[in-house]
Protein backbone atom coordinates (compact mmCIF):
# COMPACT_ATOMS: atom_id res chain seq x y z
CA UNK A 1 0.00 0.00 0.00
CA UNK A 2 1.41 3.36 -0.94
CA UNK A 3 0.47 4.98 2.37
CA UNK A 4 2.93 2.85 4.27
CA UNK A 5 5.75 3.54 1.86
CA UNK A 6 5.08 7.28 2.05
CA UNK A 7 5.40 7.14 5.80
CA UNK A 8 8.55 5.08 5.52
CA UNK A 9 10.08 7.56 3.08
CA UNK A 10 9.15 10.45 5.34
CA UNK A 11 10.75 8.76 8.29
CA UNK A 12 13.89 8.06 6.31
CA UNK A 13 14.10 11.58 4.89
CA UNK A 14 13.57 13.41 8.11
CA UNK A 15 15.85 11.21 10.15
CA UNK A 16 16.73 12.87 13.40
CA UNK A 17 15.04 16.16 12.51
CA UNK A 18 11.94 15.14 14.45
CA UNK A 19 11.27 13.07 17.51
CA UNK A 20 10.90 9.42 16.61
CA UNK A 21 7.66 9.12 18.54
CA UNK A 22 5.58 11.51 16.48
CA UNK A 23 6.95 10.13 13.20
CA UNK A 24 6.28 6.57 14.29
CA UNK A 25 2.71 7.53 15.13
CA UNK A 26 2.37 9.45 11.87
CA UNK A 27 3.39 6.34 9.94
CA UNK A 28 0.43 4.66 11.62
CA UNK A 29 -1.81 7.58 10.65
CA UNK A 30 -0.75 7.14 7.02
CA UNK A 31 -1.74 3.48 7.34
CA UNK A 32 -5.16 4.64 8.67
CA UNK A 33 -4.62 3.26 12.17
CA UNK A 34 -7.02 5.01 14.51
CA UNK A 35 -5.01 4.12 17.62
CA UNK A 36 -1.95 5.80 16.15
CA UNK A 37 -4.00 8.89 15.34
CA UNK A 38 -5.42 9.01 18.84
CA UNK A 39 -1.92 8.84 20.30
CA UNK A 40 -0.68 11.53 17.89
CA UNK A 41 -3.72 13.65 18.77
CA UNK A 42 -2.96 13.34 22.47
CA UNK A 43 0.71 14.09 21.86
CA UNK A 44 0.02 17.32 19.97
CA UNK A 45 -3.14 18.46 21.70
CA UNK A 46 -1.50 20.25 24.66
CA UNK A 47 1.06 22.09 22.51
CA UNK A 48 -1.49 23.09 19.88
CA UNK A 49 -4.05 24.12 22.47
CA UNK A 50 -1.51 26.39 24.11
CA UNK A 51 -0.41 27.78 20.75
CA UNK A 52 -3.97 28.44 19.59
CA UNK A 53 -5.21 29.88 22.87
CA UNK A 54 -2.32 32.30 22.85
CA UNK A 55 -2.95 33.20 19.22
CA UNK A 56 -6.76 33.37 19.21
CA UNK A 57 -7.49 34.51 22.77
CA UNK A 58 -10.93 32.96 22.36
CA UNK A 59 -11.18 29.66 24.23
CA UNK A 60 -14.41 28.76 22.46
CA UNK A 61 -12.62 28.83 19.10
CA UNK A 62 -9.57 26.85 20.18
CA UNK A 63 -11.14 23.42 20.25
CA UNK A 64 -12.77 23.95 16.87
CA UNK A 65 -9.59 25.13 15.17
CA UNK A 66 -7.53 22.47 16.92
CA UNK A 67 -9.81 19.69 15.76
CA UNK A 68 -9.96 21.18 12.25
CA UNK A 69 -6.17 21.06 12.23
CA UNK A 70 -5.82 17.48 13.38
CA UNK A 71 -8.66 16.42 11.12
CA UNK A 72 -6.56 17.68 8.21
CA UNK A 73 -3.60 15.68 9.56
CA UNK A 74 -5.78 12.57 9.47
CA UNK A 75 -7.50 13.24 6.16
CA UNK A 76 -4.55 14.69 4.25
CA UNK A 77 -1.63 12.77 5.68
CA UNK A 78 -0.52 12.00 2.12
CA UNK A 79 0.29 15.69 1.55
CA UNK A 80 3.10 15.72 4.12
CA UNK A 81 6.23 15.29 2.00
CA UNK A 82 8.84 15.30 4.72
CA UNK A 83 10.36 18.58 3.53
CA UNK A 84 10.01 19.95 7.05
CA UNK A 85 9.65 18.52 10.52
CA UNK A 86 6.25 16.98 11.18
CA UNK A 87 5.66 19.50 13.96
CA UNK A 88 6.36 22.38 11.54
CA UNK A 89 3.81 21.00 9.10
CA UNK A 90 1.16 20.56 11.79
CA UNK A 91 1.77 23.98 13.37
CA UNK A 92 1.61 25.58 9.92
CA UNK A 93 -1.81 24.02 9.34
CA UNK A 94 -2.94 25.24 12.76
CA UNK A 95 -1.66 28.75 12.07
CA UNK A 96 -3.48 28.95 8.73
CA UNK A 97 -6.69 27.60 10.24
CA UNK A 98 -6.48 30.06 13.14
CA UNK A 99 -5.88 33.09 10.92
CA UNK A 100 -8.77 32.00 8.73
CA UNK A 101 -11.01 31.68 11.78
CA UNK A 102 -10.00 35.16 12.93
CA UNK A 103 -10.83 36.61 9.52
CA UNK A 104 -14.22 34.88 9.58
CA UNK A 105 -15.08 36.85 12.69
CA UNK A 106 -15.40 39.93 10.52
CA UNK A 107 -13.77 42.10 13.10
CA UNK A 108 -10.35 43.68 13.44
CA UNK A 109 -7.66 41.07 13.98
CA UNK A 110 -6.48 43.00 17.01
CA UNK A 111 -7.90 41.81 20.31
CA UNK A 112 -10.87 44.05 21.04
CA UNK A 113 -10.68 43.35 24.74
CA UNK A 114 -7.07 44.37 24.95
CA UNK A 115 -7.74 47.85 26.26
CA UNK A 116 -10.22 46.68 28.83
CA UNK A 117 -8.26 43.70 30.09
CA UNK A 118 -5.53 45.30 32.20
CA UNK A 119 -7.98 47.48 34.11
CA UNK A 120 -10.35 44.62 34.93
CA UNK A 121 -9.92 43.53 38.51
CA UNK A 122 -10.83 39.97 37.73
CA UNK A 123 -10.17 39.32 34.07
CA UNK A 124 -11.10 35.92 32.60
CA UNK A 125 -7.39 35.14 32.82
CA UNK A 126 -7.31 35.70 36.56
CA UNK A 127 -7.24 32.03 37.59
CA UNK A 128 -4.09 31.56 35.48
CA UNK A 129 -2.23 34.34 37.22
CA UNK A 130 -0.29 32.82 40.03
CA UNK A 131 1.69 35.97 40.37
CA UNK A 132 1.15 39.57 39.57
CA UNK A 133 3.92 39.36 36.98
CA UNK A 134 2.17 36.62 35.09
CA UNK A 135 -1.08 38.54 35.10
CA UNK A 136 0.71 41.62 33.81
CA UNK A 137 2.45 39.55 31.16
CA UNK A 138 -0.80 37.99 29.99
CA UNK A 139 -2.31 41.45 29.74
CA UNK A 140 0.72 42.69 27.82
CA UNK A 141 0.59 39.72 25.44
CA UNK A 142 -3.08 40.44 24.82
CA UNK A 143 -2.12 43.88 23.55
CA UNK A 144 0.14 42.43 20.86
CA UNK A 145 -1.12 41.56 17.41
CA UNK A 146 -1.79 37.83 16.82
CA UNK A 147 1.31 37.63 14.60
CA UNK A 148 3.54 39.11 17.27
CA UNK A 149 2.06 36.88 19.96
CA UNK A 150 2.58 33.87 17.75
CA UNK A 151 6.27 34.59 17.24
CA UNK A 152 6.83 35.13 20.97
CA UNK A 153 5.03 31.93 21.92
CA UNK A 154 6.67 29.77 19.25
CA UNK A 155 10.08 31.10 20.27
CA UNK A 156 9.91 31.01 24.04
CA UNK A 157 7.36 28.32 24.83
CA UNK A 158 7.68 25.95 21.89
CA UNK A 159 11.39 26.76 21.54
CA UNK A 160 11.40 26.86 17.77
CA UNK A 161 14.13 28.45 15.66
CA UNK A 162 13.35 31.46 13.48
CA UNK A 163 13.56 29.42 10.26
CA UNK A 164 10.97 26.97 11.52
CA UNK A 165 8.71 29.83 12.60
CA UNK A 166 9.09 31.41 9.16
CA UNK A 167 7.99 28.11 7.60
CA UNK A 168 4.95 27.93 9.89
CA UNK A 169 3.91 31.53 9.28
CA UNK A 170 4.89 31.39 5.61
CA UNK A 171 6.95 34.57 5.73
CA UNK A 172 10.64 35.55 5.31
CA UNK A 173 13.01 34.87 8.21
CA UNK A 174 13.75 38.58 8.51
CA UNK A 175 10.06 39.19 9.10
CA UNK A 176 10.16 36.75 12.00
CA UNK A 177 13.15 38.53 13.52
CA UNK A 178 11.51 41.93 13.06
CA UNK A 179 8.21 40.76 14.57
CA UNK A 180 10.06 39.27 17.51
CA UNK A 181 12.07 42.44 18.02
CA UNK A 182 8.98 44.64 18.04
CA UNK A 183 7.03 42.21 20.20
CA UNK A 184 9.82 42.11 22.80
CA UNK A 185 10.11 45.88 22.79
CA UNK A 186 6.36 46.24 23.34
CA UNK A 187 6.28 43.59 26.05
CA UNK A 188 9.18 45.09 27.94
CA UNK A 189 7.70 48.55 27.69
CA UNK A 190 4.31 47.30 28.89
CA UNK A 191 6.00 45.30 31.64
CA UNK A 192 8.13 48.21 32.73
CA UNK A 193 6.95 48.20 36.33
CA UNK A 194 7.56 44.49 36.66
CA UNK A 195 11.06 44.45 35.25
CA UNK A 196 12.66 45.44 38.53
CA UNK A 197 11.29 42.24 40.07
CA UNK A 198 12.87 40.15 37.37
CA UNK A 199 16.41 41.42 37.51
Amino acid sequence: MSDGSVAHRQTAEIGNAATPEDLRLFAGVCARELDAFEALYRLYHPRLARFLLNLLHRPQMVEEVLNDTLFVVWERSDTFRGASKLSTWIFAIAYRKAMKALRRLDEPVEDREADARPSDGDAPDAPFGRHRTQEALLAALAKLSPDHRTVVDLTYFHEMGYREIAAIMDCPVDTVKTRMFHARRHLRRLMDGELADWL
Binding site: A49, L66, D153, Y156, E159, M180, R184, W198, L199
Partner: protein
Protein backbone atom coordinates in the same frame (compact mmCIF):
# COMPACT_ATOMS: atom_id res chain seq x y z
CA UNK B 1 34.88 24.19 5.77
CA UNK B 2 33.32 26.21 8.55
CA UNK B 3 31.60 29.31 7.36
CA UNK B 4 32.29 32.27 9.65
CA UNK B 5 30.25 35.16 8.39
CA UNK B 6 30.96 38.63 9.68
CA UNK B 7 28.14 40.87 10.85
CA UNK B 8 26.47 42.24 7.77
CA UNK B 9 24.59 44.87 9.72
CA UNK B 10 25.07 46.78 12.93
CA UNK B 11 26.40 44.17 15.41
CA UNK B 12 24.22 45.54 18.22
CA UNK B 13 21.17 45.20 16.02
CA UNK B 14 21.96 41.69 14.90
CA UNK B 15 22.76 40.59 18.45
CA UNK B 16 19.48 42.00 19.68
CA UNK B 17 17.59 40.38 16.80
CA UNK B 18 19.08 36.95 17.47
CA UNK B 19 19.04 37.10 21.27
CA UNK B 20 15.77 35.14 21.71
CA UNK B 21 17.16 32.15 19.86
CA UNK B 22 20.49 32.39 21.66
CA UNK B 23 18.51 31.98 24.87
CA UNK B 24 16.64 28.93 23.60
CA UNK B 25 19.73 27.44 21.98
CA UNK B 26 18.28 27.51 18.48
CA UNK B 27 21.01 29.46 16.63
CA UNK B 28 23.36 27.97 14.07
CA UNK B 29 26.85 27.45 15.54
CA UNK B 30 28.40 30.30 13.54
CA UNK B 31 25.59 32.69 14.50
CA UNK B 32 25.97 31.71 18.12
CA UNK B 33 29.74 32.24 18.05
CA UNK B 34 29.30 35.68 16.48
CA UNK B 35 26.65 36.80 18.94
CA UNK B 36 28.54 35.49 21.96
CA UNK B 37 31.71 37.25 20.83
CA UNK B 38 29.82 40.52 20.63
CA UNK B 39 28.14 40.00 23.98
CA UNK B 40 31.50 39.43 25.64
CA UNK B 41 32.59 42.88 24.51
CA UNK B 42 29.33 44.85 24.81
CA UNK B 43 27.94 45.67 28.22
CA UNK B 44 24.72 47.20 26.87
CA UNK B 45 23.84 44.07 24.92
CA UNK B 46 24.72 41.85 27.91
CA UNK B 47 22.33 43.85 30.08
CA UNK B 48 19.67 43.51 27.42
CA UNK B 49 20.28 39.76 27.35
CA UNK B 50 19.69 39.49 31.10
CA UNK B 51 16.33 41.24 30.74
CA UNK B 52 15.46 39.13 27.75
CA UNK B 53 16.21 35.90 29.63
CA UNK B 54 13.79 36.98 32.35
CA UNK B 55 11.10 37.69 29.77
CA UNK B 56 11.73 34.34 28.05
CA UNK B 57 11.46 32.51 31.35
CA UNK B 58 8.19 34.21 32.23
CA UNK B 59 6.62 33.47 28.83
CA UNK B 60 7.67 29.83 29.03
CA UNK B 61 6.20 29.57 32.52
CA UNK B 62 2.85 31.12 31.64
CA UNK B 63 0.17 28.63 32.57
CA UNK B 64 -2.31 28.54 29.72
CA UNK B 65 -5.08 26.06 30.39
CA UNK B 66 -6.02 23.43 27.85
CA UNK B 67 -8.82 20.89 27.69
CA UNK B 68 -9.10 17.36 26.42
CA UNK B 69 -11.02 17.07 23.16
CA UNK B 70 -10.49 13.55 21.87
CA UNK B 71 -14.15 12.61 22.38
CA UNK B 72 -15.24 15.43 20.06
CA UNK B 73 -12.65 14.40 17.49
CA UNK B 74 -13.76 10.77 17.69
CA UNK B 75 -17.37 11.82 17.03
CA UNK B 76 -16.22 13.77 14.03
CA UNK B 77 -14.27 10.83 12.59
CA UNK B 78 -17.24 8.53 13.11
CA UNK B 79 -19.50 11.00 11.33
CA UNK B 80 -17.05 11.32 8.45
CA UNK B 81 -16.72 7.54 8.18
CA UNK B 82 -20.50 7.11 8.15
CA UNK B 83 -20.92 9.75 5.48
CA UNK B 84 -18.21 8.12 3.38
CA UNK B 85 -19.79 4.67 3.68
CA UNK B 86 -23.28 5.79 2.58
CA UNK B 87 -23.82 6.24 -1.15
CA UNK B 88 -25.43 8.60 -1.93
CA UNK B 89 -24.56 10.88 0.96
CA UNK B 90 -27.34 10.77 3.54
CA UNK B 91 -29.53 13.84 3.95
CA UNK B 92 -29.44 15.53 7.37
CA UNK B 93 -32.57 13.59 8.39
CA UNK B 94 -30.57 10.37 8.41
CA UNK B 95 -27.95 11.62 10.82
CA UNK B 96 -27.96 9.44 13.89
CA UNK B 97 -27.72 12.22 16.43
CA UNK B 98 -28.45 15.90 16.34
CA UNK B 99 -25.95 18.24 17.93
CA UNK B 100 -28.49 18.86 20.70
CA UNK B 101 -28.73 15.13 21.37
CA UNK B 102 -24.98 14.78 21.46
CA UNK B 103 -24.76 17.77 23.78
CA UNK B 104 -27.40 16.27 26.06
CA UNK B 105 -25.60 12.92 26.12
CA UNK B 106 -22.27 14.55 26.89
CA UNK B 107 -23.86 16.64 29.62
CA UNK B 108 -25.49 13.54 31.11
CA UNK B 109 -22.20 11.69 30.97
CA UNK B 110 -20.36 14.56 32.64
CA UNK B 111 -23.01 14.77 35.36
CA UNK B 112 -22.79 11.02 36.01
CA UNK B 113 -19.04 11.19 36.11
CA UNK B 114 -19.13 14.04 38.61
CA UNK B 115 -21.61 12.06 40.70
CA UNK B 116 -19.41 8.96 40.50
CA UNK B 117 -16.41 10.95 41.64
CA UNK B 118 -18.31 12.42 44.56
CA UNK B 119 -19.53 9.01 45.65
CA UNK B 120 -16.09 7.47 45.33
CA UNK B 121 -14.42 10.16 47.31
CA UNK B 122 -16.96 10.75 50.04
CA UNK B 123 -19.07 7.66 50.50
CA UNK B 124 -16.92 4.95 48.96
CA UNK B 125 -20.06 3.29 47.65
CA UNK B 126 -20.20 1.04 44.57
CA UNK B 127 -20.49 3.06 41.38
CA UNK B 128 -21.74 0.50 38.91
CA UNK B 129 -23.83 3.01 36.89
CA UNK B 130 -20.64 4.61 35.59
CA UNK B 131 -19.68 1.44 33.73
CA UNK B 132 -23.09 1.11 32.13
CA UNK B 133 -23.40 4.63 30.83
CA UNK B 134 -19.84 5.88 30.56
CA UNK B 135 -18.62 3.21 28.16
CA UNK B 136 -18.60 4.75 24.71
CA UNK B 137 -17.98 2.34 21.84
CA UNK B 138 -14.29 1.53 21.45
CA UNK B 139 -13.35 4.08 24.10
CA UNK B 140 -10.82 3.19 26.77
CA UNK B 141 -12.52 2.79 30.15
CA UNK B 142 -11.15 4.86 33.00
CA UNK B 143 -10.10 3.07 36.14
CA UNK B 144 -8.72 5.86 38.28
CA UNK B 145 -9.33 9.49 39.09
CA UNK B 146 -6.82 12.24 39.64
CA UNK B 147 -6.90 15.85 40.79
CA UNK B 148 -3.93 18.08 40.08
CA UNK B 149 -2.89 21.11 42.04
CA UNK B 150 -4.45 24.25 40.53
CA UNK B 151 -1.00 25.64 39.78
CA UNK B 152 0.38 22.45 38.24
CA UNK B 153 1.97 23.09 34.86
CA UNK B 154 0.75 21.28 31.78
CA UNK B 155 4.28 20.17 30.94
CA UNK B 156 4.72 18.62 34.40
CA UNK B 157 1.38 16.84 34.16
CA UNK B 158 2.19 15.55 30.71
CA UNK B 159 5.61 14.30 31.83
CA UNK B 160 4.17 12.66 34.93
CA UNK B 161 1.48 10.80 32.99
CA UNK B 162 3.91 9.65 30.31
CA UNK B 163 6.48 8.48 32.83
CA UNK B 164 3.85 6.30 34.49
CA UNK B 165 2.28 4.97 31.29
CA UNK B 166 -1.03 6.58 32.19
CA UNK B 167 -3.60 8.02 29.78
CA UNK B 168 -6.23 10.66 30.28
CA UNK B 169 -9.65 9.30 29.39
CA UNK B 170 -11.99 12.08 30.40
CA UNK B 171 -12.31 15.37 32.22
CA UNK B 172 -11.95 17.88 33.57
CA UNK B 173 -15.10 17.31 35.59
CA UNK B 174 -16.90 20.11 37.39
CA UNK B 175 -14.53 19.47 40.29
CA UNK B 176 -11.49 19.65 37.97
CA UNK B 177 -10.81 15.94 38.30
CA UNK B 178 -9.57 13.82 35.39
CA UNK B 179 -10.31 10.18 34.66
CA UNK B 180 -7.28 8.01 33.96
CA UNK B 181 -6.65 4.66 32.42
CA UNK B 182 -3.82 2.77 34.13
CA UNK B 183 -2.79 -0.74 33.05
CA UNK B 184 -4.55 -3.03 35.54
CA UNK B 185 -1.47 -4.93 36.64
CA UNK B 186 0.36 -1.76 37.62
CA UNK B 187 -2.49 0.26 39.01
CA UNK B 188 -1.79 0.20 42.74
CA UNK B 189 1.95 1.04 42.50
CA UNK B 190 1.24 3.61 39.79
CA UNK B 191 -1.34 5.34 42.00
CA UNK B 192 1.18 5.37 44.85
CA UNK B 193 3.74 7.03 42.59
CA UNK B 194 1.20 9.59 41.36
CA UNK B 195 0.15 10.42 44.91
CA UNK B 196 3.73 11.07 45.90
CA UNK B 197 4.11 13.71 43.17
CA UNK B 198 3.91 17.31 44.30
CA UNK B 199 1.56 18.25 41.45
CA UNK B 200 -1.07 15.71 42.53
CA UNK B 201 -3.73 16.46 45.13
CA UNK B 202 -5.51 13.14 44.91
CA UNK B 203 -5.24 9.89 42.94
CA UNK B 204 -7.72 7.10 43.63
CA UNK B 205 -8.97 3.92 41.91
CA UNK B 206 -12.33 4.24 40.22
CA UNK B 207 -14.01 0.87 40.49
CA UNK B 208 -15.62 -0.95 43.36
CA UNK B 209 -13.21 -3.89 43.47
CA UNK B 210 -10.32 -1.63 44.33
CA UNK B 211 -12.27 0.00 47.13
CA UNK B 212 -12.86 -3.17 49.07
Amino acid sequence: MARILPFTVDPHRETRDLMPWLITGRLEPEEQARVEAHLAACEACSLELAGERALAGEVAELPIATGIGWAAMRDRLDTAARQASFVPAPPPVRRRFTMAQIGAMLAAQAALLAAAVTITLRVEAPIAPYHALGAAPAAVAGNAIIVFRPDARESDISRLLKANDVRLVDGPTAANAYVLHIPDAARAPTLDRLRSNAAVVLAEPLDTAALR
